[in-house]
Subunit: 340 residues, 2 copies
């Protein structure tokens, strides 16, 4: 198995990506390509003792920056690290792409280089989130801001495959993000989607429909997969991040208020660190762009080496479990939604 | 000033509402009406020592339950506590309504009893949320799930008035909840709303437009008021609640993991309690339904006595500051948005 890693994206620089890939390579029999500025990447790589034999540098002379407009950047920068890495997958020189760069560019590049899976109208980013029960997969987290019920139906199919393949969930429970649990709740999109799901998903389907899920219940573990349009998904994701960050900052503020408290804090620091780890995006290792003809794992721009390692692991597992093939098969097997 | 309180809503029973109102009455010169089951309320009230002279029981024989369908309940239960309380405002026997019952019913009852403010097409619930800078007002939090740009413009006008009147913010900074800060980001609604705001809001407007606000930035304090449709607003609110709850549960879990840790926790408990207080909905004291011809403060169904007291204070302040009048005046003064 061969993983092509776009080494030039990310807020923390190539150094962090290289460290993450080296760590992934040491624990794996897969072959890793570090794609980007060859001189820089060789220099970073040569710092590793011993240098892992299953990591190889592939030169790419351009970089798509965080501020670049995705489609324009794809056209103007054919030798950028993410485009070169995607092309390797297209040409069957690699089995998956991992990137922590510009998310919009990763989507545009994957979509334009590989095309969509037949039967999938729009792609979706499936983000694994922490929940009290472990992990819940949210999609779409931002690929398709405006959706119709059919799009959400395809997201349900793709999300169920990902929950099965990556997290070993049998007959995943699918929910629709809404402003209330009752069937009567929701905006127009949610109401129409609810009606469609009830009509098409039944006891012989490879996944279950558990109805609407309120924002606060997403994290309680009542569903394995929650679907919504990419606008709402992105807002859920970022709101969650913002609140978790605020609570952790306020804890720090409250506990740091009195110096006499300090000695009492030392013994509980490991517990607080463990807490941060449990709600940390890095633990969950990147989100796949589903619906395209290839495996693309997108990591958070803030990813550190540890998050990069986890994104590489997710890519390996997605290849092993033939996620793309399974989606292609399942979307064919599922009944076609009737016209509204 | 007279405040009519629907005493029969809420998950914690009338007992908690009565306690909250008594506490509000003791700190205020306003007159409070407790509307609901007269025998029950008199019994609860008579427990107070001394019994405050500015709290009076008004009989209402019916209750709108949490599960009741709002509009049907309004028609079928004309003697329910919330309907009687709203009628008192309509008949100028009270100046504001406070309820912690069925939110949908509170909206339907206010709207159908009082009507809308002229110039306001759809009402909005304005929820004050904690932020690192203090408080940010989110609207709509659930009154109008499907919106057009004009609705969001009206929300901006109403939210700016509330921020000014209740929180003393001068020329409030208004943001649009979006999936990215850039003007190019957003779903169709957000893009059209952004264009409208840029056209209509300028340096002589009584509020400022600060552009799009991502989910994680809502809580960072970069805007005083953020607007979105009622579906997205409800999802933001509930997601925030869910994540805060999860983080606090995980803290408890992590800190409770080892018994030897207990003695170290005792001195920091006040800090953790203070944290909970700072992110607690109760502190912020209920959300007004804006756009209707009267003041209606809606508290969380889980509200305890303390939250009820704060909701009463918000109602008093909204009356003192003539929030409804100010909205009526400002919506007339603002330029009418041009047709798209």
């Amino acid at each position: 198995m061969r993983i092509a890693v776009d080494a030039m994206g990310g807020d923390q620089g190539a150094h962090e990506v290289v460290r993450g890939v080296i760590d992934a390579a040491r624990r794996s029999s897969a072959h890793f390509f570090l794609v980007g500025d060859a001189t820089l990447l060789e220099a970073e790589l040569s710092k590793a003792r011993p240098r892992p034999s299953n990591v190889e540098v592939i030169a790419a002379s351009q970089i798509i920056e965080m501020c670049d407009e995705p489609v324009a950047a794809f056209k103007k920068k054919p030798d950028s690290s993410v485009v070169v890495a995607a092309r390797m997958v297209k040409e069957k020189k690699a089995d998956a792409l991992v990137t922590i760069g510009n998310t919009g560019a990763a989507m545009a590049v994957s979509l334009l280089t590989w095309g969509r899976i037949k039967g999938i109208d729009r792609p979706a980013i499936a983000t694994p989130l922490p929940s009290l029960a472990g992990t819940v997969i949210l999609l779409d987290a931002g690929a398709t801001p405006d959706c119709d019920p059919n799009n959400l139906y395809e997201f349900a199919v793709m999300g169920s495959v990902y929950a099965e393949c990556l997290f070993g969930v049998k007959r995943p429970r699918i929910g629709i993000v809404s402003n209330g649990e009752e069937e009567s709740k929701g905006n127009q999109l949610v109401k129409r989607t609810h009606a469609l799901f009830k009509q098409v998903i039944n006891s012989s389907s490879p996944f279950q429909f558990v109805g609407n899920v309120e924002g606060k219940d997403i994290f309680r573990g009542g569903a394995d997969v929650v679907v919504c349009d990419g606008f709402v998904g992105n807002v859920v994701l970022k709101t969650g991040e913002g609140v978790a960050e605020m609570v952790l900052k306020l804890i720090k503020e409250e506990l740091g208020r009195h110096t006499w408290m300090k000695p009492f804090l030392i013994p509980i620091m490991p517990a607080l660190r463990n807490l941060r780890r449990r709600i940390d995006y890095a633990e969950r290792g990147g989100a796949p762009l589903l619906g395209v003809n290839g495996i693309c794992i997108i990591g958070h721009g803030r990813s550190n080496a540890y998050a990069v390692t986890n994104a590489c692991k997710a890519a390996e597992r997605a290849v092993q479990q033939s996620v793309t093939e399974t989606i292609r098969r399942r979307i064919c097997e599922m009944p076609t939604p009737p016209p509204e």
